[in-house]
Symmetry: C2
Subunit: 472 residues, 2 copies
């Protein structure tokens, strides 16, 4: 798929690379400007000369870095340099915008060039009617493969897998397999393993190409193969597929349907993106930023984010209500109003720390029922250490600042209490959400903040009143 015709020899290539990309493989801003200026001046050939040496992934980056309004002119100037491979490498939002401007026949032309999984990624978000038009423009074989993929749920193994793979029966020899591979010019895709299947097309083992190459030709494939094999059910969620690849260090894996028949293959290069995406999702969901892609349109981002801000407005009301109970106390002693955000803020931070650790441990399958109790104990002991330290610092600081040891003692006790509550909430809330099969990254953060805010104000103002520092 990323076999690109290449005419320049190695060293010249390295020089061109450095001119276009920085040390982090990002396109240099001045290179992007040069291309866009050439396009603006109508010098399409100059722009094409600049872009031609770029890898498809870098060409895709170029399109993404180009302001939205300049993309049609860029695409027109570059023509076939923006080919199917480039489209497959593009950010989903940018690709969607570009695909929207194309005729169904053009989209079908691109889909024909792609592996099934990339073709599906391109058309799965199209309108139903446009999708039907594209499918109609494909030949029956490609159409069947894509329709089959679309019949599986979004983000499932069935959408990710390729149908092109090498499966051989058990009775052949290593030599037979090599000869067959050499004569079967049809196979378009890259592969690293071949699968051995029984008469019912159930996988019974696999052979890595490097073993195949090192095994004498007359050995039966069933003696060369590894029987212990990690299979992927076709309806498995892509996040679980990614964790399975990671856990068992897989390069590719056979996908089986409900009857255990081999129906496809997933390769690690497609999984790498998912691991990145799923981990990013946790950061973004914890912050309530939705998908959070910088290529998303501002109105889409607005819709994703405003929900959480409104929810946050609601939870902030809980904290405000608690403060309002203590209106009299605040009137008597304004220092309470000055200090109360410190108690809530540091507690919130402590809660977020615990939350982040817990959410990642759940997401990477490190935290299971077997070690739940240990995790809670661990977080509580960290909270105790943190709480004691912060209580000491804040207590002494406030005593010196206010000259009132009683106020210092109240804030110290309130901070210790709130940090302990924060530690407990930070580990229990995501575990509870996970227990009820909810994504612990979503909503956890807002609950934890609500608890640390409310409990911070309640502990601080409540202790001030209870200890007789101030009356209500």
């Amino acid at each position: 798929m990323d076999r690109v015709d290449e005419l320049t020899p190695g060293d010249a290539l390295a020089a061109t690379h450095a001119e276009r990309l920085d040390a982090d493989d990002r396109l240099r801003p001045d290179f992007v400007d040069r291309v866009l200026e050439a396009v603006a001046r109508g010098e399409a050939e100059a722009a094409r000369d600049l872009v031609r040496p770029l890898h498809p992934a870098d060409r895709a980056d170029l399109v993404e870095l180009t302001p939205e309004e300049d993309r049609p002119a860029l695409a027109a100037a570059l023509g076939d340099l923006i080919d199917a491979d480039v489209i497959a490498e593009m950010n989903d939002y940018v690709r969607e915008d570009i695909v929207d401007t194309l005729e169904p026949e053009q989209v079908a032309d691109i889909a024909r060039e792609l592996d099934t999984d990339d073709a599906v990624a391109m058309i799965e978000d199209m309108d139903v009617s446009d999708q039907a038009a594209v499918l109609a423009a494909l030949d029956p074989e490609d159409r069947a493969a894509i329709e089959d993929a679309l019949s599986y749920p979004e983000e499932s193994a069935g959408r990710l897998m390729q149908r092109d793979l090498v499966a051989v029966p058990e009775h052949v020899t290593v030599g037979d397999v090599i000869d067959r591979l050499r004569h079967d010019g049809d196979l378009a895709t890259d592969f690293w393993e071949i699968y051995v299947v029984d008469a019912r097309h159930h996988p019974v083992g696999y052979v890595q190409l490097s073993w195949l190459l090192r095994t004498p030709r007359d050995i039966a494939i069933s003696d060369a193969m590894m029987r212990r094999q990690t299979l992927i059910p076709v309806d498995m969620d892509q996040e679980e597929v990614a964790l399975r690849f990671q856990k068992y260090a897989l390069i590719s894996a056979a996908v089986v349907d409900g009857d255990g028949r081999l129906v496809g293959m997933i390769t690690v290069d497609d999984i790498v993106h998912i691991i990145q995406e799923e981990a990013s999702e946790d950061v973004l969901r914890l912050s309530g930023a939705g998908e959070g892609d910088i290529n998303e349109s501002p109105t889409e981002s607005y819709r994703a984010r405003i929900r959480w801000l409104v929810a946050n407005l609601g939870t902030a009301l809980v904290a405000s209500t608690i403060i309002s109970f203590f209106g009299g106390a605040i009137e008597h002693m304004v220092a309470l109003a000055v200090l109360m955000p410190i108690v809530a803020g540091v507690g919130g931070n402590a809660g977020t720390q615990t939350l982040a650790v817990t959410v990642r441990a759940i997401a990477t399958n490190q935290l299971t029922q077997s070690n739940t109790r240990r995790a809670i104990t661990r977080e509580l002991s960290i909270a105790l250490l943190n709480g004691a330290t912060i209580a000491l610092i804040a207590g002494i600081g406030v005593t010196i600042w206010s000259g009132d040891w009683h106020l210092g003692a109240v804030i110290a006790a309130a901070m210790l209490t709130n940090i302990l509550i924060a530690g407990l909430a930070g580990v229990i809330i995501p575990l509870t959400l996970d227990h009820f099969d909810q994504d612990p990254a979503v909503a956890s953060s807002i609950f934890v903040t609500m608890i640390t805010d409310s409990m911070g104000f309640l502990a601080f103002l409540g202790l001030a009143v209870l200890s007789g520092l101030v009356s209500l």
Copy 2:
């Protein structure tokens, strides 16, 4: 490396799998309990029978899920079932604890079984003297490879790479290469590509095994190879290596030294862990949780987290100082103290949303100098939409609650202002840190919160005074 001897046929294997692991490949709690109970009863053979069918990665999980105090007994009972492959799969913290209990000769025995990269990962964190003892117990060849790896910076390509690889000169044919692979029984590692080198041992191209198998034997390797090749400098940081693998969909890549000579190979299975780790790091650093591994000792976690809590205590002082300027106003109108956490809290949430999106976009190389201005404009327009919506809701709500439209107008204006400031801070702070080559995930969060807290209080209390709602 993960070729495990396997006697059970496929279907029986699947049944055993389901008995031991849940659908997410996590060891079932009751299975873990059964093993630990067998160990506790001194029935080592029963424990071994349970564990024997497990993949090394699952055996490593079993050790991790076992409470720390029970691990020595488990390890003693399982004996050689906890072999080098299992140790390589273990969480760093857990592995370190186990390795600490072993004699240098035992560690050397394990190191001998591992690929260089895994051996290095095992011994890189040992005390210098223990490390020297382990190295002394190795044979010269293994020792040289590990010492060479240790000479590169931590988290660099030089530490990640394997020295075992297949490199062939340009003049040989495809048939020569296949014959050589078949007769060279020495090669211990799995591989997916072979590298073609010139007389100076500079890589000039590569051949995927699947192309090799499909190319006639008499073709020269230099005609079968792809010249366009992504090379990894030996001193490149592992995060950049991971991004390069991801961007160019690499399965393996040649590592070159400063003179351009081929010195090693990195394979994608080692990269998958790094992508996961680096993405997790962003979540954890944004929250100020340090490494944030649940296997870290509580005192280590305490040390990592307390720094940020103390820093947060410091930044909260800024917000408190601002409130203290308005002590008189709060005395006159306690409703200000009741409402001010709402302004700060929702602003903080909006800032965190923008921050998460920006940090991930920087980490994945999506945000470069070319689109910085666009990203800022985009965040400001989202902030404007969010701010207007929240201002409207809060303004109307507070007017109804307090019966005072003036207070409603003040909170509405304060929220709009703070959410705009939050949007700006959330994108500018991480970009600035990145510009000065600092990790934008570290410290960004605490700055953003300081700004949204302070500006929230200042805007709300300041506008209340300036608009004449209340006097100082």
